[in-house]
């Protein structure tokens, strides 16, 4: 155990009703008071509130606590906050331990109150057992190189690069295409202002080119990433030519790409005049549609949002049709793989519909939709389309509409009208498919190199969707633009500036303290076999005079060496054998 007799304080959070509505917090407090080494226990409505934190500080002084356990949510979001409260109370923050009784208890056992209460007691007992073995630690300090790498030269990447460069930081801007611009380069007009995309793009590219702090590397891909926050070594490849850059932070702005349906889906690539919204945008830009069409049919959510079958959609149909309908729905689910809402397609369709109406007022424009999602000011944009006589027809989006070509070459779209429950046939000259933004294929490789996880939608994952939306799990790596999911231009710019601010915070401080979770070699036990040196992925172990030594700045704290060492000569700070074993034992033996 620790050097002085442990006096553990336990603070159990109700989290409003999030925990308190399931777990009987009072009985957990009562139980905590009976545990070995516990000197004090109380409950709080919100331990993370100002009152809760003040209470921790007060109790620490009054009850001479030298360990603090907070039983509440996940340490992944709230550990830093409680640790700082401990520091303010004069306690080294490595003497703090968290018991996760929300994400891993009350939220997953909402209908098992009694069992959840028992489990919460077990979790608290385990945390107290571990806390009793905790020791204060000194954190190693790292230098942060004040150079940034931005991956991706679209609007998000360029905005990030400019924001950082204007603060005086050196920025490498790597773009895989031969020129900067990303997706916007292929666009004609931007919603809802209907300005030319070039109006936005050209000044941004010029500003990037004119900025002496930015080194733009086009036709360049990342081929290897080594190192850690503050000290990344990234290999950039321009065809066969490779160069290594040393940077302190990395901002991923690799964007997303427009989904192109496979040949045959919605008759795309088989029949003429069936195009995606992006292609229609291009046709309008280049004035390729000469003859006024009689009718244009747009289909929303092509390849997207084919989720569960909703009973409400089937309600209007005759029973005899249900089996046929179900078969079609299952087929669509199989063929149209992207489950999420891409968020930009509704506005995109409305934009192109208005552009068509502007050019050919007589053309009938129909948008076949399942849901129209026009948030914030885009509601006005939708109304604008309605006023220009664009027709919105709700169809059963789970069923892929059928498209056929008649003898005179005209197309006919057959879909299920959701309101009448009838099949409707719409003769038309053009069919426009609204397809989602999807992750680039290279994103998986990039994610692996950066060790940033990928979400179930296939995009790079934020550290926390609400609390840390531009951070990643990896210190020093940030996300800007559509790399983390579909975003339109303003949202990409916002996230780019946010990512730049997060990156600048690190670089401006020049130094950063990292967790003291490093390995320590017991030289008396070490026989100098060199296994730790061999397996360490970071080169943090070296042999000298027949003994292994740790380079603390390089050690990332995984603990593989401690587990592999045949002499058990390596200990992990803050995850010592004693600490882990105490937690294991307390989980299994009540009178630990």
């Amino acid at each position: 155990m620790g050097e002085e007799e442990p006096r553990v304080g336990v603070f159990i959070c109700q989290c409003g009703v999030n925990i308190g509505g399931v777990v009987n917090v009072q009985s957990v407090v009562k139980y905590a008071k009976t545990l070995p080494n516990v000197a004090y226990a109380e409950d709080n409505i919100y331990t993370c509130s100002e009152a809760g934190l003040a209470s921790i500080k007060k109790a620490t002084k009054e009850h001479r606590l030298n360990r603090v356990v907070v039983a509440s949510c996940t340490p992944r979001t709230h550990e830093p906050l409680f640790r700082s409260a401990c520091r303010e109370a004069g306690l080294n923050h490595y003497l703090f331990e968290m018991a996760n009784i929300r994400e891993q208890c009350s939220w997953v056992h909402a209908h098992q109150a009694e069992k959840a209460t028992k489990k919460a007691k077990d979790i608290v007992r385990m945390a107290v057992a571990r806390a009793s073995w905790l020791n204060p630690q000194e954190e190693p300090e790292l230098d942060i190189k004040d150079v940034a790498l931005v991956i991706g030269g679209g609007i998000a990447g360029m905005t990030t690069a400019l924001t950082l460069a204007n603060q005086g930081f050196k920025v490498y801007l790597a773009e895989k295409e031969p020129q900067l611009g990303g997706n916007i380069r292929t666009l004609h007009k931007l919603y809802p202002t209907m300005q030319d995309s070039a109006d936005l793009l050209d000044p941004t590219i010029n500003a990037v080119n004119a900025n002496r702090n930015i080194e733009t590397l086009t036709s360049t891909m990342v081929s290897d990433v080594k190192g850690y926050v503050g000290n990344f070594k990234v290999t950039l490849a321009k065809e066969a030519e490779k160069r290594e850059v040393e940077v302190g932070v990395i901002i991923v702005a690799c964007g997303a790409m427009n989904y192109t349906p496979p040949k045959g889906l919605y008759q795309y690539g088989v029949l003429p005049n069936i195009v995606t919204q992006l292609e229609m945008d291009g046709l309008l830009k280049n004035g390729k549609i000469k003859k006024p069409p009689e009718r244009v049919v747009m289909i929303q959510c092509v390849g997207a949002r084919k989720g569960e079958i909703r009973a409400v959609d089937l309600a209007g149909f005759p029973k005899s049709d249900t089996a046929r309908l179900l078969a079609k729905i299952l087929k669509a689910k199989k063929e149209e793989g992207w489950p999420y809402c891409s968020k930009i397609c509704c506005m995109n369709a409305i934009k192109n519909a208005i552009l068509i109406k502007d050019k050919f007022p007589e053309t009938d424009v129909i948008i076949l939709y399942g849901d129209v999602r026009v948030y914030k000011e885009y509601e006005d944009f939708y109304s604008m389309a309605r006023e220009s006589q664009v027709k919105f027809v709700k169809h059963i989006e789970e069923v892929t509409p059928e498209i056929m070509q008649g003898p005179e070459g005209k197309l006919t779209v057959t879909a299920y009208d959701a309101l009448s429950g009838q099949e409707i046939a719409l003769p038309c000259d053009w069919v426009v498919l609204s397809t989602p933004l999807i992750p680039h294929k290279e994103e998986v490789l990039l994610a692996r190199m950066l060790k940033v996880p990928i979400s179930s939608d296939g995009f790079l994952m934020e550290a926390h969707v609400k609390l840390r939306p531009v951070d990643t799990q990896m210190d020093g790596i940030f996300l800007a633009g559509a790399a983390s999911g579909p975003k339109d231009v303003p949202e990409s710019i916002v996230s780019a500036k946010a990512a730049a601010a997060r990156a600048a915070t690190l670089m401006a401080n020049k130094k950063m303290r990292t967790e003291a979770l490093t390995s320590v070699v017991d030289e008396e036990q070490c026989i100098g076999c060199g296994l730790c040196e061999e397996i360490c992925a970071y080169g943090a172990h070296y042999l000298e005079d027949g003994k292994s030594h740790t380079i603390a700045a390089l050690c990332r704290g995984c603990g593989a060496c401690a587990a592999e060492c045949p002499r058990r000569a390596i200990g992990m700070q803050h995850y010592t054998d004693d600490q882990v074993l105490a937690q294991i034992k307390a989980g299994l033996v009540e009178e630990a």
């Binding site: 996940t74 340490p75 992944r76 996760n100 929300r102 994400e103 891993q104 208890c105 939220w107 997953v108 056992h109 909402a110 209908h111 098992q112 069992k115 959840a116 028992k118 489990k119 077990d122 979790i123 385990m126 692996r448 060790k451 996880p453 990928i454 979400s455 179930s456 994952m461 799990q473 990896m474 979770l517 397996i535 992925a537 990332r556 704290g557 995984c558 603990g559 593989a560 401690a562 587990a563 592999e564 992990m572 995850y575 054998d577 882990v580 074993l581 937690q583 294991i584 034992k585 989980g587 299994l588 033996v589």
Partner: protein, 141 residues
């Protein structure tokens, strides 16, 4: 006795790595995916930290099942910690067999930070399988 057996509630320890599977477990919570209450989660930085002693001690102290979870192959935050755990897994199962503990009581699975649903399903499945196996035989001795 039959009745007592039907009420057997196993105690299972799950070791989750800080970067993938612990986050996956959190996501199960944020998404409110329900699962049985039999599992106690212990956070370690990496599945590569899992010293065989931890696992054998858990069984010695009466764990009915031990679940080790880590990042998917190739996704390990520490490059290769999960592979090191996988290598230990083979011989650990063999050792358990020699000790008279059914090797199926030890399970190794990969859960990413985005796989909350998979985590919940894994807990349901593991709890069910351990229930079928009955209590840890070491508890009887």
């Amino acid at each position: 006795m039959q009745e007592a057996k039907a009420e057997f509630e196993p105690v299972i320890l799950a070791f989750c790595c800080n970067w993938c599977s612990y986050a996956g477990a959190d996501l199960a919570g944020t998404s409110r995916f329900e699962y049985p209450t039999n599992v106690r989660i212990i956070r370690v930085m990496c599945s590569g930290r899992m010293d065989p002693t931890f696992i054998l001690s858990a069984f010695r102290w009466g764990a009915d099942g031990v679940l080790i979870t880590g990042c998917h192959p190739g996704d390990c935050h520490y490059v290769q910690g999960n592979y090191m755990m996988e290598r230990r897994f083979g011989f650990l199962k063999e050792v358990l067999g020699h000790l008279g503990i059914e090797p199926q009581r030890l399970r190794l699975e990969w859960i990413s930070a985005g796989e909350g649903e998979k985590f919940a399903a894994l807990i349901r499945d593991t709890t069910q399988k351990i229930k079928e196996l009955g209590p840890n035989p070491l508890k009887a001795t």
